[in-house]
């Protein structure tokens, strides 16, 4: 289709084709579908959907404090008759599962599309889960686009299906569909009729048992109706080639499979639940051998097998773990003796270079989290971590996060741990090594830490809880949240008063500290660890990356540096160990990297790391 670009008469067409990521394409699809309300909590790889959509006029977009709230905002909008979009990463749907299941029961008025962006391979996640399973679990149809063009078209179809079948529709992407770019043909926005009043439909929308019992059979019938529709769904597509081999596949895996075995026959599934039984049986009859190729769970395969349709290979040929690619698929097919596999993908790979230092993510120079972890390491307390940039405190040289599971868990898990630990008594001083600290970011705290902290206070816990407040959702690229005083649409808003919120939960010990001052961090931490009641320490300083903060760089006085490497405990890429002309090891500061935070300078016992005079005069840090 790209060839058409060069035809002279297609100036208009040229303007209507763009390179978009899958996320941008979903946003475009939602806009074209006339979506009125969109809500999300940021999470890689889903974040850019709402960031993009917020750039279009005519759509109300918001960052909700968490995915459950986002889902309810979307459901409310759909119930009221507007089209709504709700987006999240895969683990977000765990948080939003409660309203998602209810949404399946109550159905919609205006279309409701829910996007789950899964992360096979865990590029930026704590687990890999195949959220297609949620569709089957909640009796909701799921669409799986293979590229950006489909991402837009499937979004439009999602709204049609949602309204036609009175159901929320799940669109499941993966990192590779969300973050890959390909060509998309743009369309115009379809305006929807305005909503001027709320229709009352008590038996449909009020899920008390008597109504829910009446709704359940309708939900089961809806899935049967959708299975019927799936037979003719334009996005379940048969592409006949070599009839010796048939491949059933979906999503981005279709692209890999097309390259792994270019000549085969394909049944490319767009609507992955419910599946079209007749279409699959007919395809089965047209090919000699049938294989199901999919990433993570055998989701299509199990449905096909349950239909009683025989396949010659599925999950046992590849893996439940991580991502697939064209090469893995080609090799698995070749090993099974399948003809027509792309030879280019079967050669032995040259070995990767070994012994190279890795390049894991790390705190930016100037990051306000660094000093906290320097001190936590020194105190050797047990640290319950959470989800955000500060999880990187688990990595060398800090090694100071000892558990991390899901959003908001630091505070509640720490509470549970403390109930197992023997309690300190007043006459016995507490060794910090036998105490624990929970550490959580501001956005994560608003997401799901508040109820945990409420639990600590209510149930007489005595943990120390650090909220590292950098006024942004940093790890996902700097999104606003209820504490920043600004909305996704850029409007000023009321910011949560964090110390007041903590006090309102019943905490008496709430201290705000400067996270760049190591002495202050250590003093306050020791005080709070010694106290026999719960406390919150708010380590407050804005994210240097998101707020574009530049401070003058520090310098090392090479005469004074004894090469002791103490400063390297700061784990900062602005520090560089080198050997000078005399063969002595010294540290230098890379001026283009240093962001003048001064943490390394406080670690140096030789006073060799100095702030340039000019900066000192200005009084900056």
């Amino acid at each position: 289709m790209s060839r058409k670009l060069q035809e002279p008469e297609t100036v208009e067409k040229k303007e209507s084709i763009e390179i978009l990521s899958g996320n941008e394409a979903i946003a475009r699809g939602a806009w074209e579908a006339g979506v009125k309300v969109a809500a999300a909590y940021p999470g890689t790889p889903s974040t850019e959907i709402l960031e993009t959509l917020a750039g279009y006029k005519d759509v109300y977009c918001e960052w909700a404090p968490n995915e459950k709230v986002a889902m309810e905002v979307g459901l409310g909008a759909a119930m009221a008759g507007g089209r709504a979009l709700v987006c999240m990463k895969h683990v977000g749907l765990n948080v939003a599962a409660d309203p998602f299941f209810s949404a399946s029961y109550v159905g919609v008025d205006g279309g409701l599309v829910v996007v789950s962006a899964d992360d096979p391979g865990m590029h930026s996640s704590q687990d890999e889960q195949d959220n297609r399973n949620y569709a089957k679990f909640a009796r909701v149809p799921v669409l799986e686009p293979a590229d950006s063009g489909e991402a837009k078209e499937f979004t439009l179809l999602g709204y049609e299906l949602s309204e036609r079948f009175d159901t929320p529709v799940l669109i499941r992407t993966t990192t590779r569909t969300s973050h890959s770019k390909s060509l998309v043909t743009l369309g115009e926005r379809q305006e929807r009729p305005p909503v001027t009043e709320l229709k009352r439909n008590w038996s449909k929308y009020t899920m008390m048992p008597q109504n829910a019992i009446a709704r359940h059979p309708l939900i089961e019938q809806r899935i049967r109706d959708l299975a019927e529709y799936a037979e003719d769904c334009p996005f379940n597509r048969v592409e006949m080639g070599d009839t010796r081999v048939g491949i059933i596949t979906s999503g981005v895996i279709y692209g890999y499979a097309r390259e792994a075995i270019p000549g085969a026959s394909f049944l490319k599934i767009g609507l992955s639940y419910p599946l079209p039984r007749k279409l699959i049986a007919e395809f089965r009859a047209r090919v000699d051998k049938l294989y199901v190729v999919e990433e993570l769970d055998p989701f299509l395969e199990e449905q096909v097998r349950l239909m009683g349709i025989q396949i010659n290979g599925g999950k046992e040929m590849n893996t439940l773990l991580g991502e697939l690619d064209a090469r893995l698929i080609a090799r698995s097919l070749a090993e099974a003796g399948v003809p027509g596999v792309n030879e280019e993908l079967l050669g032995e790979l040259r070995p990767a270079a070994t012994g190279l230092p890795g390049r894991p993510p790390t705190f930016c120079p100037g990051c306000s989290h660094r000093g906290i972890f320097v001190v936590l390491k020194k105190l050797r307390t047990f640290v319950c971590g959470d989800i955000g940039c500060y999880t990187m405190g688990a990595l060398p040289p800090f090694n100071s996060v000892h558990c991390s599971t899901c959003m908001g868990a630091s505070i509640s898990m720490g509470h549970g741990m403390s109930k197992v630990l023997e309690r300190p008594t007043d006459d016995k001083p507490v060794d910090p090594r036998h105490k624990l600290v929970a550490i959580i970011g501001d956005s994560t705290f608003y997401h799901s830490g508040i109820t945990s902290l409420m639990d600590v206070v209510y149930n007489k816990g005595a943990t120390v809880n650090i909220i590292v407040d950098n006024s942004t959702t940093a790890m996902t690229g700097g999104q606003d949240h209820p504490g920043t005083g600004k909305t996704l649409l850029g409007e000023p808003s009321t910011a949560v008063d964090l110390p007041a919120l903590c006090r309102a939960l019943g905490l008496k010990r709430v201290t705000t500290i400067d996270p760049y001052n190591l002495e202050e961090i250590e003093r306050v931490l020791r005080e709070e660890l010694a106290a026999n009641e719960p406390s919150v320490i708010i380590a407050k300083a804005p994210c240097v990356l998101q707020y574009k903060i530049r401070r003058p760089p520090y310098q090392v006085d090479a005469e004074l540096c004894i090469g002791c490497k103490r400063c390297l405990q700061a784990g900062c890429v602005a520090l560089n160990l080198y050997t000078d002309a005399n063969g002595d090891r010294k540290v230098e500061i890379l001026a283009d990297q240093c962001n003048g935070c001064g943490v390394c300078s406080q670690l140096c016992k030789e006073n060799a790391i100095i702030r340039p005079e000019s900066a000192a005069e200005e009084g900056s840090r």
Partner: protein
């Protein structure tokens, strides 16, 4: 180059080096030249100084957004170590163009690992078809070190079947208006460095 076969390119570097902008320019140049395009990168944690990898593919019809290991025609590394790390992704006969710049990974900064002191030797031992570009110096010569990624684009451009005008037109639109001339100068210096490296090899 025939458009029949999909051309595979891998861009590697460190978060903050402009790999994403370079990928943007490449995909828009290929689109403007009438190719089907797929481009893929993983962002998220990568912006905290981690490795960044971007896949860029173009041809008559591109199915997969990812290059398969062992099939890459052109590896464009914005940092030397990140070139060596992905050399095995090249196909036999593929080409590595890497930036002379070295950026310490965090384990090196923490004194827990050493940056290979002989990185250039290691790269040349690992791959025969290699060009090293001092993109930072070229960019400084053009007016700002920040245009190093565009100088790198200039350096790979002779390996790609795209017209010079298309490159320049896309770069004009992709960079901030005030920096257009600097970036175009960096691009041209990158082109010259690649052409002179090629002619010195053949002479």
């Amino acid at each position: 180059m025939s458009a029949r076969r999909t051309f595979n390119m891998l861009l590697t570097g460190v978060g903050g080096q402009g790999v994403v902008l370079a990928s943007y320019v490449l995909s828009h140049v290929a689109m403007a030249e009438g190719y089907d395009v797929k481009q893929s990168e993983v962002h998220g944690m990568a912006q905290r100084g981690g490795s960044v990898v971007s896949h860029f593919r173009f041809g008559e019809k591109v199915w997969s957004p990812l290059c398969a290991p062992g099939t890459v025609d052109l590896l464009m590394a914005f940092e030397a170590l990140e070139g060596l790390r992905y050399v095995h992704w090249l196909r036999p006969g593929g080409r590595l163009v890497y930036n002379a710049l070295r950026i310490n990974p965090s384990p090196v900064s923490a004194g827990l690992a050493e940056y290979p002191p002989n990185i250039d030797e290691l790269i040349r031992a690992a791959w025969p078809n290699v060009q090293c570009v001092d993109a930072y110096s070229l960019a400084v010569q053009a007016g700002t070190g920040r245009a190093a990624n565009v100088a790198m684009l200039g350096a790979v451009s002779p390996s790609l079947p795209f017209a010079r005008e298309t490159w320049e037109e896309v770069i004009r639109k992709a960079v901030p208006p005030k920096t257009v001339e600097v970036n175009l100068a960096a691009f041209r210096l990158g082109v010259e460095s690649a052409l002179s490296a090629a002619s010195s090899k053949t002479s």
